[in-house]
Amino acid sequence: MATVEHSDGTLAAGPDGESDGLRRREFINIAAVSVAGVGAATTLYPLVNQMNPSADVLALASIEVDLAAIQPGQAVKTIFRKQPLFIRHLTPAEIQAANAVPVGSLRDPQTLAERTKEGKPQWLITMGVCTHLGCVPLGAAEGEVRGQFGGYFCPCHGSHYDTAARVRKGPAPKNLEVPDYVFKSDTVVTVGEEA
């Protein structure tokens, strides 16, 4: 068989001179098992991938929100990718309070400017998911406690967030996550789209 030309000695068989047949059998065996193995591995792909988010889930991956009705000092809760999204219209005082904090003193150091879009520091858009264990913090709806720092307060394990939604106290390791979003106009924002 032309495919197996190299004699590596180990396969050379006994005195009956059947070495060629033996190597041919080895070759066929390895080739057949390899093809079957590649086929089996390829088959695994759809079996595993079917559990990933389906097309209809991905189709809801971005939402459009009209900000026109949200007054300064007010916040709204909406739903983005099946999770709460907080959109907050900061007052000048809240912006000032956020900017007054020395960044170096923070657990997850970020400035308000880094957490908002350029020229729109009054629009603080974050996920409403506590970075500790995933509860929904209070403070977005009217009358809810906003914690010691005037932002959000998570009732599950007592994490306090400030007016830039940065963690200031409690077990949460990170600031509230800022999702990707772009301003389509001055008052319309698309969440889930990169700029």
Binding site: A36, G39, Y45, P46, Q50, A55, D56
Partner: protein, 435 residues
């Protein structure tokens, strides 16, 4: 397992020895499908189909469990969830088409497996229980396939569930309550769909259990072979691995190529377009037929058109179930001691007539219930029962069989010229008696 010369399992390393002493699972596998199971050396490719049926079941279970992750057994959403699988779920179309066509291929290989058994006399002693357990598996497969077909809740699904449960309505006195019990209502509805989903998920595992019994019972006498002659010496057998794992592996490759070809290039060829219309309890499709693998039985069901003591409907139902129940008695309806059709020239002719008869029944079952198809299915139904109840018993007593080879190894070595009377089967009329 079956013969004294079966290779004993020897653990290759310390870990396997440790395992073998505590849980001899590798020993079990080695003895069942490894080098420890001696198999007649003369098996042809028809002996691939048992393994293929087992693999078809595995394909159905794997794709089925995945479909159940995305399917909703709720009447208002079942159809939509199937479309969701087809359009939105990643590769969902592939998995559903594999499941639907996989069912057809499961029946194809199972029917060939059964015909193999009919031709080579695999139902004869000492393998009667192997045959009967196989028939139990066939009945379970039919129930599973039927209930699975209902789940997409399309037009054919709905009306199939109505028609098939209606069969039970033919039973005198208790028929109607039984049908309502099966449906959970007066017509197929939410309760029907939910229980069919539950049972459709359960039964494949019951099938797997009966398959274990089927193989267990088979491995006591060992596999049959195309000559029907018993294994006598180690020269008659080869270890299952690597000889038959390789042969089955080749057959599996061919099987998978065909399954993939249909799945990718003609995924709806074996289905019905009507089942892509959501179930509508107020409108029956104009031509309602089951899936192709039920056609022969459907033809038998519809062949009874005249009331005779009992209503025609009941006769049809009895005959349809009877056509399979009858096969449980086959080992005793055909007591000829010669197993293989290769050595039974008259039996062989009638075997092919039976195959043709079943194909005709299948052809009629897929056509509308009109003349001349009704009459053709009536004739074919009569022949089907006559074959088993009249032809086979008479054949087995009157047929002059051909001389059997002395042994399997001798038949493989083409020593037919030295053929002699069977030495192993008592009560055989010696075929080589002086002419």
């Amino acid at each position: 397992m079956s013969f004294p010369w079966a290779e004993e399992y020897r653990p290759k390393n310390g870990l396997m020895r440790w395992l073998d002493q505590r849980l001899p699972l590798p020993r079990l596998v080695y003895g069942a499908v490894g080098g420890g199971y001696p198999v007649p050396r003369n098996l042809n490719y028809f002996w691939n189909f048992g393994v293929l049926a087992g693999i078809a079941l595995v394909i159905q279970i794997v794709t089925g469990i995945i479909l159940a992750m995305h399917y909703v057994p709720y009447d208002a959403q079942a159809f939509r969830s199937v479309e969701h699988i087809m359009r939105d779920v990643n590769q969902g179309w592939l998995l559903r088409y594999l499941h639907a066509n996989g069912a057809s291929f499961f029946f194809i290989v199972t029917y060939i497996h059964i015909f193999r058994g009919l031709y080579y006399g695999s139902y004869k002693a000492p393998r009667e229980l192997v045959w009967m357990l196989g028939l139990v598996i066939l009945l379970l497969m039919m129930a599973t396939a039927f209930m699975g077909y209902v789940l997409p809740w399309g037009q054919m699904s709905f009306w199939a569930s109505k028609v098939i449960t209606g069969l039970f309505g033919a039973i005198p006195l208790v028929g109607e309550p039984v049908q309502q019990w099966l449906l959970g209502g007066y017509a197929p509805d939410q309760p029907t769909l939910n229980r069919f989903f539950s049972l459709h998920y359960l039964l494949p595992f019951v099938i797997a259990g009966v398959i274990i019994l089927h193989i267990w019972a088979l491995h006591i006498p060992g596999s049959g072979n195309p000559t029907g002659v018993d294994v006598k010496t180690p020269q008659d057998t080869l270890p299952f691995h690597p000889y038959y794992t390789a042969k089955d592996g080749f057959g599996l490759g061919v099987f998978l190529v065909l399954l993939a070809a249909v799945t990718f290039f003609a995924p709806n060829y074996l289905g019905h377009a009507d089942n892509y219309i959501p179930a509508n309890p107020l409108s029956t499709p104009s031509h309602i037929v089951p899936e192709w693998y039920f056609w022969p039985f459907y033809a038998i069901l519809r062949a009874f058109t005249v009331d005779f003591i009992l209503p025609a409907k009941l006769w049809g139902v009895l005959a349809m179930f009877g056509s399979i129940i009858l096969l449980f008695f086959l080992p005793w309806l055909d007591p000829s001691p010669v197993r293989s059709g290769n050595y039974r020239p008259r039996f062989r002719q009638f075997f092919w007539i039976l195959i043709l008869d079943i194909l005709v029944l299948g052809w009629c079952g897929g056509l509308p219930a009109e003349e001349p198809y009704v009459m053709i299915s009536q004739v074919a139904t009569i022949y089907y029962f006559a074959h088993f109840l009249i032809v086979l018993p008479i054949l087995s007593w009157t047929e002059r069989t051909l001389p059997l080879p002395n042994s399997i190894s001798e038949s493989v070595l083409h020593g037919e010229e030295r053929e002699a009377a069977p030495a192993d089967l008592s009560g055989v009329r010696p075929a080589t008696a002086a002419e």
